[in-house]
């Protein structure tokens, strides 16, 4: 298992390096690394590597890490493998928050905060519907409430865009919604990384609580866990992670679904191990998708969200048919 974990880290570093080297301007790995540490040298290469590719690469890394960890937390909370910030509508809520912040012309440092407010509102709404009526969380209600919320959120954003926004603003917002991470600069990246870090720290600190919640609310509480408070804290961390990803890259779906599944298959169990491995798997997934998005059709760029949907959508359908069988056999 230790070997697997080291391999995962090495693979993450390797794909980061590939992302750094490949693109319209191909740079040799050694030269790319040298450029990172030297300020001198060929200034065109320096501009591309340090000015464009490095922030973009780190953005992809953070987005993948945040979405996958958020997905893992939501799956643990709902005790349901199909939960994911995108499918449960949390991302849509966060997107409404970001759209409001953009249209009201707040400065970009406050955008993750608006995303969080939107996301947490959406999560309360979806959670109250999914829990309503019975014990625990209903899979069907969770996903249906997520779909409903996403369509309302999409409509709200379009409405706000057409009513208040200028043409230029609408175009920018639209491109951002599709999930793009091009042109992110350091000033946008750093505040969001802080939000993500807080979410990750809370998630790791709550490992034990996650373990207890896996037994169900009743048993967890009889083992002395304050169930409501733990759920609220973990949910807040999950929403914080998802909304910081949304603030950076718009609506990128399915990372939070696919990454924890792959990681469970590959790296075994244990909450802290899974948090780490899910996060890194998500980062690899987004780095890889971004590489494809930049290189598939030269000179032109596919939106990251579209590419992730192409990969993640079929996977979701596969999981859905598989887990509905399980639901019925219960």
């Amino acid at each position: 298992m230790f070997v697997k974990f080291i391999a995962l880290i090495l693979f993450t570093v390797a794909i980061m390096l590939v992302n750094l080297c490949l693109g319209d301007l191909t740079v040799a790995p050694l030269e790319a690394i040298q450029t990172l540490f030297n300020t001198g040298g060929n200034s065109e290469i320096h501009d591309v590597i340090v000015g464009i590719r490095l922030p973009r690469l780190l953005t992809a890394f953070v987005v993948g890490l945040a979405l996958a960890t958020s997905g893992y937390l939501l799956q643990a909370l709902s005790r349901n493998d199909l939960a994911d910030p995108y499918l449960t509508g949390v991302s849509s809520g966060a997107a409404v928050g970001v759209a409001c912040a953009m249209l009201l012309k707040f400065d970009f440092q406050s955008i993750p905060f608006f995303a969080f407010v939107g996301g947490i509102t959406a999560s309360f709404f979806v959670a109250s519907i999914a829990r309503g009526g019975g014990h625990g969380v209903s899979v069907a209600k969770l996903l249906l409430a997520g779909i409903a919320l996403s369509s309302v959120a999409g409509a709200l954003i379009t409405l706000a865009m057409t009513t208040f926004g200028t043409q230029l603003m609408a175009q920018g917002l639209y491109l951002w919604l599709l999930g793009g991470i091009s042109g992110r600069n350091w000033q946008e990246l750093i505040p969001t990384v802080c939000y993500t870090a807080v979410g990750l720290i809370v998630a790791f600190a709550a490992a034990k609580q996650l373990n207890l919640l896996a037994l169900g609310e009743e048993t967890a509480s009889s083992l002395g866990l304050n169930v409501g408070r733990s759920q609220l804290i973990i949910l807040s961390a999950a929403v914080l992670l998802a909304s910081s990803a949304v603030a950076l890259s718009g609506m990128v779906g399915f990372v939070g679904l696919v990454a924890p599944h792959l990681s469970r298959r590959l790296f075994g169990r244990g909450v802290r191990l899974q948090l780490l491995c899910s996060g890194l798997t998500g980062a690899i997934l987004v780095l890889f998708s971004d590489l494809l998005a930049r290189t598939l059709s030269p000179g032109q760029e596919l939106p990251l969200g579209t590419l992730m949907a192409l990969i993640g959508g079929p996977f979701f359908i596969y999981l859905l048919s598989y887990s509905l069988d399980q639901v019925h056999s219960h």
Partner: protein
């Protein structure tokens, strides 16, 4: 634990006017027909449901005023079944029983923790199954794993919701043997049981829970009889509560009084016929 009256959100109390107590080293068996509110009562005792009025207390302290960790160090609850995370092993499950004795952030086990866990596994006969995953266990083994988790809490009281449900004879007797052993270690046990014979063997007190006679309407349940097995397990009372004819047999070989349900009682058949 004493006096509790509970209700659901609606106007009708599910179960009301209860006054029961449990001493260390005593076994209280809760019996009654399906839907009579036994589980509601059990969840009340386990601090899962808050009574709408009345109090439940340990050593004079209301359980709802206690810190949840303090309560978990006093009282363990064994659910009827656990929606188990299938991948979890027996060891991992039983380890979680140490939670009330640990810091909130750490799941490091001290030497004392490890000793408690291995003795809990040993008492439930699970030492050799520690590495097995929960979904690979038989029903009886799973039930014992849940009891072992409760034991790892080192509680003074253990509440069990139908520990023998879905178990075959042999496993039922195993659970009964564990309960007897716990009783000797001065742990107070309250358990829901359906089998009158098992209750008669292990209970110091039986509480018979039943709704009132007007069937078909939502009425509140209460404890209709409470006392030693000899006092409660009487023919007329059981016939009235369960609406069945019973045969009472004394087995001289084992020196046990046995209760055998024979048929649905004629009175109740007439009753349900007249209602339809």
């Amino acid at each position: 634990m004493s006096y509790a009256t509970k209700s659901n959100a609606q106007a009708v109390n599910i179960i009301e006017h209860i006054n029961i107590s449990l001493e260390p080293g005593q076994v209280l068996a809760i019996q009654g027909p399906n839907g009579s509110g036994k589980s509601t009562m059990m969840k009340g005792l386990a601090r899962q449901l808050k009574p709408s009025c009345g109090t439940i207390s340990i050593d004079g302290q209301n359980i709802w005023n206690m810190n949840i960790l303090d309560f978990a160090r006093q009282v363990a609850y064994v659910p009827q079944s656990l929606e188990t995370p299938n991948e979890m092993t027996v060891n991992e499950l039983v380890r979680l029983g140490r939670n009330p004795h640990q810091n909130w952030w750490s799941n490091q086990l001290s030497k004392a923790d490890i000793a408690t866990i291995s003795s809990a596994l040993d008492r439930c006969g699970l030492t050799r199954l520690g590495q097995k995953k929960l979904n690979e266990l038989s029903g009886g083994e799973k039930q014992r794993a849940l009891i072992a988790m409760a034991l790892a809490q080192e509680p003074h009281f253990i509440l069990m919701d139908e520990p023998t449900a879905n178990l075959d004879f042999r496993y039922q007797l195993e659970v009964i043997a564990i309960i007897k052993e716990l009783k000797e270690q001065k742990i107070g046990i309250a358990t829901i049981l359906h089998d009158l014979n098992l209750s008669a063997r292990i209970a110091d007190t039986i509480a018979l829970v039943a709704g009132s006679q007007t069937a078909g309407q939502t009425t509140s349940s209460t404890i209709v009889a409470q006392g030693t097995p000899q006092e409660v397990l009487k023919e007329d009372l059981l016939r009235a509560v369960f609406a069945v004819e019973l045969a009472f047999v004394h087995d001289s070989k084992s020196n046990l009084d046995l209760y055998v349900p024979i048929s649905i009682s004629i009175d109740s058949e007439n009753k349900s016929a007249s209602q339809t």
